[in-house]
């Protein structure tokens, strides 16, 4: 089990990745994560929101109120330039990390 901050970081990088295809609201992010990960990664839905607020404060994402598919007002998040840079950096680090773990696990 990766440590908690790694988990935090994991959620962050996943959200950033989700937003890299375009703005969406919190619920849509949660849905997309569920579907794409094939239920392998179960994110406790509630923990998504503090992560969103934290990233907004850091300036990685920004929020704007808009209309949802069902005609309801919803807060849409989108990536900032800084968020994009963060995503890149995090992805590289993740690859390095997983490869390192993998190398150890497959070593005979």
């Amino acid at each position: 089990m990766p440590p908690k901050d790694r988990l935090h970081g994991t959620l962050d990088v996943l959200v950033l990745k989700t937003l890299s295809w375009g703005p969406r609201h919190g619920y849509a992010i949660a849905r997309w994560l569920e579907e794409t990960s094939g239920e392998e990664i179960s994110v406790e839905e509630g923990s998504l929101y503090p992560a969103l607020y934290r990233m907004e404060r850091r300036g990685w994402i920004e929020a704007e109120w808009g209309m949802s598919e069902l005609g309801r007002k919803a807060k849409f998040y989108s990536l900032t330039r800084e968020g994009r840079r963060q995503l890149q950096q995090e992805s590289v680090e993740w690859q390095r990390f997983t490869q390192a773990v993998l190398r150890i696990l497959v070593a005979t």
Partner: protein
Amino acid sequence: MPERERKHLRGPVWRESVTDEVSAELSFHVEMRARELAARGLDLEEARRAALAQFGDISDVRAECETIASQRDRDMRRATYRSEFLQDTRYAVRQIRGAPWFSLLVIGTLGLGIASATTIFSAVHAVVLRPHGFANADRVHFISETWKESAGDVSPGTFIDLDEQATQFETIAAIDWSTFVLAAEGVPDQVVGAAVTPDYFQVFGVHPVLGRGFTTEDAQPGAPRVVILSHAIFREQFGGDRSVLGTDIRVDGDPARVVGVLPAGFDPLLMGEALWVPLALTPEQIAARGSHWLDVVGLARAGVPHATVQSELDRLAGLMREQHPADHEDRGIVAQPIREVLLGDYDRRLFLLLGAVSVVLLIACANVANLLLARGAAREKEIAVRAALGAGHGRILRQLLTENLVLSLATVALSIGIALVGARLIVTFAPADIPRIAETRIDPVVLAFAVIVGALSSLVFGLAPALRAVHTDLQGTLRSGGRDTQGGTRDWLRNSLVIGEVALSVLLLVGAGLLIRTSVEAARVDPGFRMDGIVSARVTLPEQTYRDPERVQAAFQRIAEAAATRPGVTHGAATSLPPLGAGGNEMFLNVEGRPATLDAAVVGRMRIVSNGYLEALGIPLLRGRGFDSRDVRAADRVTIISADLARRLWPGQDPLGRRFACCEENATSPAWKTVIGVAAAVRSQSPTIEPYPEFYLPLAQAPDGSWNWIQRSMSIVATGAQTDALVAAIRDAVHSVDGSVPVYGIGTVRDALRNATAAARFNMLLLSILGALGLVLAATGIYGVVSYFVNLRRKEIGVRMALGASTRSVLALTTRQAMGPVVIGLVLGALAALAATRLLAASLFGVTPTDPLTFGITLAGLLLVALGAILLPARRASRVDPTEALQA
């Protein structure tokens, strides 16, 4: 992160509260999930419950999100504020650079005002206000014995009684000042020192940094000789080497063991002592209650008021009068707080300067106020336009505040620079006799105070017009073309500022003028003796080798003769009091044939001189003869008296051949001195001090006891063309008699005169600088105000000229209107000066505090300057082209 900044500049996306934002977002999520579940077949209620459960602890999440969101909003506000502040600062700098003369004027005026106030106040602080370099400065008293009204030294008997009986003092100590010959490495050096009773250091609460203080045993007659060194002499003479402790050094030729070194800067009575030895009072000295030669200091008990101390001393003095009626008749004891004794009237002089400085600061503030008011009025239109374009009042005020802050910052930087330089100048040019002025440092508190005063005045007067501008009816302001719509009230304010500035300048300049006249008068006075081509040096014969009065007298006689016969020397002589020196040696003279009581006695200052003294100093002998070879020790005692003393002793009679007794007699066998000559009165202390009744005694007949009072020291004077030759001649003369005796205090009489008047000249210089500063500031202030009015009235003047007014009449009108407040200011200033210059009276010489010439010149001068400051812009008014002015 430009993207983020741009977003922040747009302002927060969500203007509702953070609570609403979070709860709207979270409930949207839950609802969407519930709908999804419902679509899969759950009934609505069930779907909602399941959605909530899936979400987790919603109240926890809500709290966390709210916290982060409010932090986010705070960050944003800060970023907004920062970027607006940067924007304002950039705008302010642009404004300041856009009006360089205006800005320079404001910065320069206020900077000079703040700097001069700070510098002078720091000097005052160093001298007067800062705590002294010892503990309990407010409890230390200087104790004197009085006779009738005059205070003097204390007799050993009185000191012992006080030490035993005074209960209001924690400690008291006696001091006998003296000079010592200190031989460290080869060259003997003459230093000031004191014999003190063992408790001396306790009075000032000071402990040696090395070794110990004096013990009671040290002060027993016959105890081994010990000495305590000042830190300065420890450093200079002994290289700060602590191994000197416990070794013997030669003091007045005899070995004395160094037992202690005091902390640096310990100089409580400003005598600059280099060493201290224990004072042992012999039973004979204690019994001689009639001889007064001790200085006494006492540390009053904590919390005891001065009045209580004094009333106890009065009681003890009463007891002494009963017990020793002969010696204590008419005598009392007074205690004076040490500060009063040491600072004398320096505090008065410096507070006077402080007053002058405050006046300059006030003028500077008034000036800046005027400038800012004028500028504020000119910018009303700009401000109105910005308000019309949607800038909030708060935002505009903040922007103007920033502008003021930038201006103030520049002012502060400049004033700190000037103040630091000013403090240097004061330390460099201040006369040496003002205690502790060399310790002048720019005081941060004082600087902060002056800066706050200056910044506040610029803030108030800078923001006042802005405040009014943002609140006035925009349409009106724009339509009126930005003209002053409340002209009446603000004309009044501006005129009052001019009146104030002019009045304050009068005050300053009259003060400076009186001091300048004083200095001119003082330089013109003939002190009555030779000032040029004369050198004086001091010699003290050590007690060890010169215990016998006859030996002392013979040695000085030989030195004086040797000095007179050296090549390059016209006259050489010796005198007990140097020409131009502090007073002292005041004696009671009892005239023959009158009752020999102190009541009937006349006071005169005694000078013991060698035969050629009057000739050397060029003091005319009005009657009779000078001292010559007839006046030897064995012959009848003779004296020469000054014309003043002659008048006082025998008014309207011929003094020659008459006799008085003094200086050495006892009641039964007075040593009569016959007057053989009358010398012209001279201003022997300073040209500005009236001649004092004096008498001269021939060196050959010097009273034996006098050598102890004057501590076997005399000044050797020599006249001639070349200073160097004279100095060498005196040294040679002294060393031809005794090679081990140091010569000190060498200098020309002209230099001594310069030193005697240095404090007065320093005062005059400072006040003149302040006066000039005030004048310049007032002139620029008047110029600024008149220019402002003229610009304001261009249109009106244009109309007048179009209607046929002549250039001259416009000039006259403008001038007349502008001169009104100037004249009122002159009158008020003159009245204030009449009242205030009395404070200067003690520093004046040769002029009265209400000197009409000084007042006249000051007022006329200021009037002319004001007229000039008015005419410049007024001429511009008279050249207004009517068509152009009307079209504008």
